[in-house]
Symmetry: C3
Subunit: 362 residues, 3 copies
């Protein structure tokens, strides 16, 4: 399983790239220096000076450019060299490789592939609807009267990005990996519908009655006296690694908007190398009940749970490595019913990778 490169990937959060800062990060096996000039413009350069291949991420911001720490060459956000201290003239080939970059809703997106395709491709985001579904274009990441937001955070996984996507697409792991946090065994017997939406999107609906475990009741701030809840969990996925999980609970037979606890959990996976990845995530709590506190409670619970995921995924990748397994597609693994969305998603991503390879070979 490799990654497609002609995609917008989240490279950093806005708060990681304050004006004057430089961040080293590998995206799709490309080491990048991500920097923000003093005027706020963001540049993403291949992390090596074209002169002596020193890492540009070791440099410092000066005005609108990034100055290399070795011989002092300065590069602008578009990669052009604007100063060579040891000589007055700038050779015409004095460029660092630059990547297209966009910023929206607190996320910095980069395009590691063919630059000519970047402009015509909009940033990922899902069709929005009424009420809490209005946040699906990632506007749920902007704190507002409608949303309480925790994050975005970033975890650096020692696991390939698709293992993390798989993990989110088979939530039956919740009953075992998160037994000490969510304690959400209810999901094991849930009704589930997976449907494709267009060429590279899936929606995966879970719905189940649940008594709700103590941690979940607390996290959602649910009424302790209610005996049974309608639980819902809807995963919106866009290939290859962009997901929003819409989840919540409402007293049995109640109305989601009026009586429910609703959380939009953004999960975005970006390949670092074949076996490592960056995991960006945030919690957006819908303020339909005017409760801001649920956001903090949910944030604390999720941080503990995502640390469990991190440990699990790192161990899974380490095991793939020691067995020399480079893929987890159906032909090497026992496929269960719970893997339905995984199988569909991997088929889509594999097709994207193959299409890029055939483009490259024309």
């Amino acid at each position: 399983m490799m990654f497609p490169k002609n995609c917008w990937y989240v490279a950093a959060t806005t708060s990681e790239v304050r004006p004057g800062s430089v961040l080293a990060r590998t995206i799709c096996e490309l080491p990048m220096a991500i920097f923000r000039a003093e005027d706020g413009a963001i540049g993403v350069l291949l992390d090596r000076c074209p002169h002596r291949l020193f890492p540009l991420s070791e440099g410092r911001i000066e005005g609108s450019g990034l100055r290399c720490a070795y011989h002092g060459l300065v590069f602008e956000t578009d990669g052009k060299c604007s100063e060579i201290p040891s000589q007055p003239e700038i050779p015409t080939n004095a460029y660092a490789t630059a990547y297209p970059v966009r910023e929206a809703h607190g996320l910095v997106w980069v395009w590691p592939g063919d630059k000519t395709l970047a402009d015509q491709t909009p940033l990922p985001g899902f069709e929005t609807g009424e009420g809490y579904l209005a946040g699906l274009d990632f506007s749920c990441l902007d704190p507002s009267d409608m949303w309480g937001v925790a994050g975005p955070n970033v975890i650096h996984l020692n696991a390939g990005y698709m293992l993390a996507v798989d993990n989110l697409m088979d939530l039956t792991h919740t009953a075992f990996v998160h037994a000490d946090t969510f304690d959400n065994a209810g999901i094991l017997g849930s009704e589930r519908t997976v449907k494709a939406v267009g060429q590279n999107r899936l929606i995966d609906f879970f719905a189940f009655k649940n008594t709700m475990s103590a941690p979940l009741r607390t996290g959602y701030m649910l009424d302790q006296s209610v005996p049974l809840f309608d639980n819902f969990l809807e995963t919106y996925w866009q290939a290859p690694g962009v997901m929003i999980l819409v989840h919540g609970a409402v007293p049995e037979g109640g109305d989601r908007e009026a009586d429910g606890a609703i959380v939009l959990n953004t999960n975005i996976l970006t390949p670092a190398t074949r076996t490592t990845s960056h995991y960006f995530w945030a919690q957006s709590v819908y303020k339909n009940r005017g409760e801001g506190k649920v956001c903090d409670l949910w944030d604390v619970m999720t941080k503990a749970a995502f640390a469990e995921d991190e440990e699990t995924l790192d161990k899974q990748q380490a095991n793939l490595d020691r067995f020399g397994t480079t893929t987890l597609d159906g032909d090497v693994a026992l496929v269960l019913k719970a893997d339905k969305a995984i199988v569909l998603a991997r088929r889509i991503v594999n097709r994207m990778v193959k299409e890029e390879a055939s483009i490259g070979s024309i």
Copy 2:
């Protein structure tokens, strides 16, 4: 030098695999999850769940099976999946790879090769004789009126198993590696006879007069006033890595059974990878003189000495690695007279490896 796989190898000691425990250990480059169910049965499974390849050794024992920590599948000691939490039916191909396993005299043996050959192959052990030679079938590992036992212990070497076998087959290293512990220079001038016993066994007899160093006199609890001792050291080896060293000393001209200190030192080497190994060893002191204390003294001395061996072997392997040498057979090394048993033993093991390769290629 590779390892044959159609052999019983010691995978663990009985005390390492208590009921309810799971142990991760690599044998012959196969990562294994070794577990004991609540009823005492032992299972050895390839250390990856067939579902998503998560390490089974991270799981926990429930009743007669091992439950995977990721999605909760349960596997029995024979590898059969007995529960899938997210669905009621068990697919017919839901099996983890299982290995034949036996247990005797406190050692757990596993068969990493062709399963169909395991049943017809008895566990290693040597022909027994009278008196202290009655323990050569590893019954010397069972504490009794006849034997005081320290161990079995396990050391994990960063050295290939045959380097450790070599080390035990050329005991002239004792005068240098163990100068601070055994201080046994007497071995350098000893008479020695190496003889083959059947197809895959050797016996290597050392016999020499010795004044016995202070540490050895103490370890054996020998009479300090005796001027000269008959020292003996007899190595029983079964290919590829099973050895019992029978050693001791008796006042010159005395009778071993009546007057001697006699120790059976079990040494069993199991390949982990090509360059790492598991070293199981124990000290069985023959209670011919009714002295239990000699066991403790000898145990302390040997632990210090085996730490010296460990350091030596790890350095030797590291040096082979940095020189890119994968073998130490006679064609790349200066062969001395003291290497006689090594040369014979390696010839036998090489033949076993080749025979397995030719079986595989038919």
Copy 3:
């Protein structure tokens, strides 16, 4: 970029190899045991015993030889085995591989290539001249009435030796890498002349007027009231890694010998592996002004600055590694005017490597 092997390379300083000591060091990818016998003779052996390939550098000096720590074989400085404890006779093939070695001016030189060429090749050193130029044959490393000497020191770089040579051949890095130590921005606008001297030597002259930064005034013990200095920096290089940098300053229009501060900075790079190296360096301060103290000041300043170089070079090498770049010749890097000496020097070293390869293939 590889290294030529038919060269004298500095393997150690005299003070690193005191009588009775053994030093493990890799030179040109050859692990070596460098030892000095009790009588003062130096031996350099391939770091593996011919018997069981144990590292000889773990052994100990006994009289004129080095005793292996495993089975006690003894080897003389010429590699000949002189004792085998387990047998009286010495086989005629009982030799460790030995390397030609020379010692002069506190440096121990070894010849890792074709031994037959070593005798006919003199140790590196430059033509000497009058006054401070008399020290260019490395006699400046011997403390005397003429020279105050700090060092030689050794740094072990996680960077290939040619990256360190490059670094010394483009001193415009001083203004950035050493901004906190030398603070020598004056070099950026200097006049510069690079000239070849014979087949495998270059001299690289820098000359510039300079107000001299506070650290440099202090280091050189210059008169604080002088407004402008004539600064000079002359690099003598012999392929592949031997350099003396002659540098100093004199009040504008003054006489170097009479009024100047003059330092001969020895820098010798020895390849360890393709991506690591040993960096030997010393400061020889010319006592034309009778000031011994300048030596200590300059030593302290240079140690801080060379730590900056070490950090820079290690990061550069790490970046080459992660980009899979094995060379930094002009065809992969943007070449600036300041790289003139680098380009010439690398051309010379590449020719030497190719010539050795063609000799080997005849």
